[in-house]
């Protein structure tokens, strides 16, 4: 369960080049990307803060739930996008739909990318502007979104994703439990190790 302030970013097809531009992909670490989130929108050409951009305005600066248009996270597979959103303080992204790779990257980092009906998103966007700061509660267990007064919407998420997000499972560890199945697959595939394609370098 997470409760936090909602920031509205009313655009469709927000690509990962916008979420974190390429000049910040040169680090070899997983953290420290929050400052560069939406960099070209947040910062003016000379480096000063763009006062018009939603995340630079009160009360959205400290938001932890992002509300966005359809097909959020399209484009490049860079996981830095999920790292930057997390690092900035976001815990959930609510949008009508997400790009496949982005959603997976979000899952891997405990960032809940949740699809809501387009109408619901539209209504929440309007309220996020008119009732700022709008605070919402995302209940992963119950699969619901609520404000302080009432339940507003429910969302679908498959049990496995839900469990991963709730429990922060070690996905690699989970696969390694199938070590035997992996070995026997390899055995069947290449009964004679010297045949391994592509030709061993």
């Amino acid at each position: 369960m997470h409760t936090g302030v909602v920031a509205p970013l009313d655009r469709a097809d927000i690509d990962t080049d916008q979420i974190i531009p390429k000049q910040f992909l040169k680090s070899v670490d997983r953290d420290g990307y929050g400052d560069f989130l939406f960099h070209d929108w947040r910062k003016e050409e000379g480096g000063s803060t763009n006062p018009e951009f939603v995340l630079n305005k009160e009360p959205y600066r400290g938001a932890s739930i992002l509300l966005a248009g359809r097909n959020f996270g399209c484009g490049s597979s860079r996981e830095h996008a999920a790292w930057a959103l997390r690092d900035f303080g976001f815990r959930a992204i609510l949008a009508p739909s997400f790009a496949d790779i982005f959603r997976e990257n979000a899952d891997q980092n405990g960032l809940a990318a949740l699809s809501l009906e387009e109408d619901v998103v539209r209504e929440l966007l309007a309220r996020a502007y008119s009732e700022a700061p709008l605070s919402l509660t995302v209940d992963l267990e119950e699969r619901t979104i609520a404000d302080s007064d009432a339940l507003l919407a429910s969302f679908e998420i498959d049990d496995f994703r839900q469990m991963c997000l709730l429990e922060g499972l070690d996905r690699i560890g989970l696969t390694l439990r199938q070590a035997e199945a992996i070995s026997s697959f390899e055995q069947q595939r290449w009964p004679n190790r010297s045949e391994v394609p592509p030709k061993s370098f």
């Binding site: 080049d17 070209d40 399209c74 860079r78 999920a82 790779i101 996905r171 992996i182």
Partner: protein
């Protein structure tokens, strides 16, 4: 057939790589080839180290440096210390784990999606992954090939497997006769224009139909490459004699003995008659014109003879907002004829259009003409092998004499992580795959085009139809 069930190409590859399936959980697929590059792998190797894990099958991995290497003189040191560090880290990781690396001084270096096929590493029926969304390129060979994030890169390094939910299968059938002068880039831009940038989300697209069968391997790669631009998980084309011919005599490809057996296997890699796709769309390409984008995603595309659209005429409110924003960013007025738009830069290259046939096409259109005096144009070959071959055919001379810069291989201005970038306000006709805001440099304005259109544009100084050159 799977059993006696007619099945799709996707199903066949999926089922033959299924290591484990648990109800409710994603399937576990075996990965045949894992491609790595400097930008999305460092954190994955670090994750392994922290968890005390090793690389399960270094022999099924291949690494190269492409995203942030300079395309100028390779004997000079890399000035950008962060980029240099990233390449050094890849070197250390490859060495430490016994992974083959095609480094900056290797004749086989190049953009990861150009060299995989070129070296014969990419094969029909494989499952291929890479921490890069354009991994969809390799689907041109009838492989299931898709981009993954860095956590998944770590996952594949540790287990040689990837947990995946089975995507839906979508058929995009290209019918009719491809008109002369219409490239694979025009075909795929038109497809994306038709279905939109999220038109194929959750699906693996199989391109079918007579037009697809007539395409060369390099053209098929251009098409599959941009599947991700329609949101597809992957794109694929069933292998046929064109595919098999391409795969002969590649350095890491099968030897002639293996080839005979493999070819038989590969011939079964097609969607059976009677198999059903979750979705099918058909497009007749007979009247297609060269395509050019006007906006800030690849779906914002029109014909070269067309004009910048008027957002007021767009019914969908969200799409209208996006178009308005895009026109503002691109500095364009509704109704402006595309062919009247002047450009400052022309870029030929990338994993979409940086292959030999693309370069030949540019040279053919240039044909002794010169780049317009107001245009700065460059060609960046997709791989060092492409560069060498182009030079042996004298293409470099044609480019240079026309006024193009001729560079070393890499991603270059497709992503602008190295010094090759657009400045704010600069307008570029580019053979790449993304016209997102800032993609080629902050404030830069990108028009996606085919190699032929790029060449014609370089000469004219404005967006131009290569057929009337």
């Amino acid at each position: 057939m799977i059993g006696d069930q007619p099945s799709t190409l996707l199903d066949k590859i999926w089922n033959s790589h299924l290591v484990h399936a648990d109800p409710g959980a994603p399937d576990l697929l075996y990965v045949d080839l894992h491609l790595l590059h400097e930008v999305t792998s460092a954190q994955a190797f670090e994750g392994l180290r922290v968890a005390g894990r090793t690389v399960r099958r270094p022999d099924l991995c291949m690494a190269t440096v492409d995203h942030n290497i300079p395309t100028t003189d390779r004997s000079l040191p890399v000035l950008d210390s962060l980029a240099r560090r990233q390449m050094e880290v890849l070197r250390e990781n490859a060495q430490g784990h016994g992974i083959r690396l095609f480094d900056v001084d290797d004749e086989r270096q190049g953009i990861v999606h150009v060299i995989g096929p070129e070296l014969g590493l990419t094969r029909p029926g494989m499952v291929i992954v890479c921490g890069d969304s354009h991994t969809s390129t390799h689907g041109a060979f009838g492989a299931l090939s898709f981009g993954i994030g860095t956590s998944e890169v770590e996952h594949v390094l540790a287990t040689q497997c990837i947990p995946q939910r089975r995507p839906k299968a979508m058929e995009i059938r290209l019918e009719g006769d491809r008109p002369p002068g219409i490239s694979a880039k025009d075909l795929i831009l038109a497809v994306i224009g038709e279905i939109g940038v999220s038109g194929a989300v959750g699906h693996v697209v199989e391109y079918t139909g007579p037009v697809v069968g007539s395409l060369s391997m390099e053209e098929r790669m251009t098409i599959c490459n941009m599947s991700i631009e329609a949101g597809a998980r992957a794109g694929m084309i069933s292998p046929d004699p064109t595919t098999f011919e391409y795969l002969r005599d590649r350095e890491f490809g099968p030897n002639s003995e293996e080839f005979v057996n493999l070819k038989m296997e590969w011939e079964s890699l097609k969607t059976d008659d009677g198999a059903t796709f979750d979705r099918s769309i058909m497009m007749d390409v007979s009247d297609l014109e060269p395509q050019v984008t006007w906006g800030t995603n690849p779906g914002m595309v029109t014909e070269i003879s067309g004009s910048v659209p008027d957002p007021c005429r767009i019914k969908d409110e969200k799409a209208r907002d996006s178009a308005e924003r895009a026109l503002e960013y691109m500095g364009l007025q509704p109704g402006t004829p595309m062919e009247s738009i002047n450009v400052d830069r022309v870029f030929v290259g990338s994993c979409t259009n940086g292959r030999l046939e693309d370069l030949r096409e540019v040279a053919r259109v240039l044909d002794g003409r010169r780049v317009h005096t107001d245009v700065h144009a460059m060609v960046v070959p997709g791989s060092t092998a492409v560069r060498r071959q182009a030079e042996s055919e004298g293409l470099d001379r044609i480019f240079r004499e026309a006024g193009f810069e001729w560079r070393e291989a890499g991603c270059s201005m497709c992503i602008g992580m190295n010094p090759d970038t657009l400045s704010a306000g600069e307008r570029c006709a580019s053979t790449t795959n993304r016209n997102f805001e800032g993609r080629q440099g902050r404030g830069g304005r990108t028009h996606l085009v085919s190699p032929a259109t790029a060449a014609a544009t370089a000469v004219a100084g404005r967006l131009a139809d290569p057929r009337s050159c």
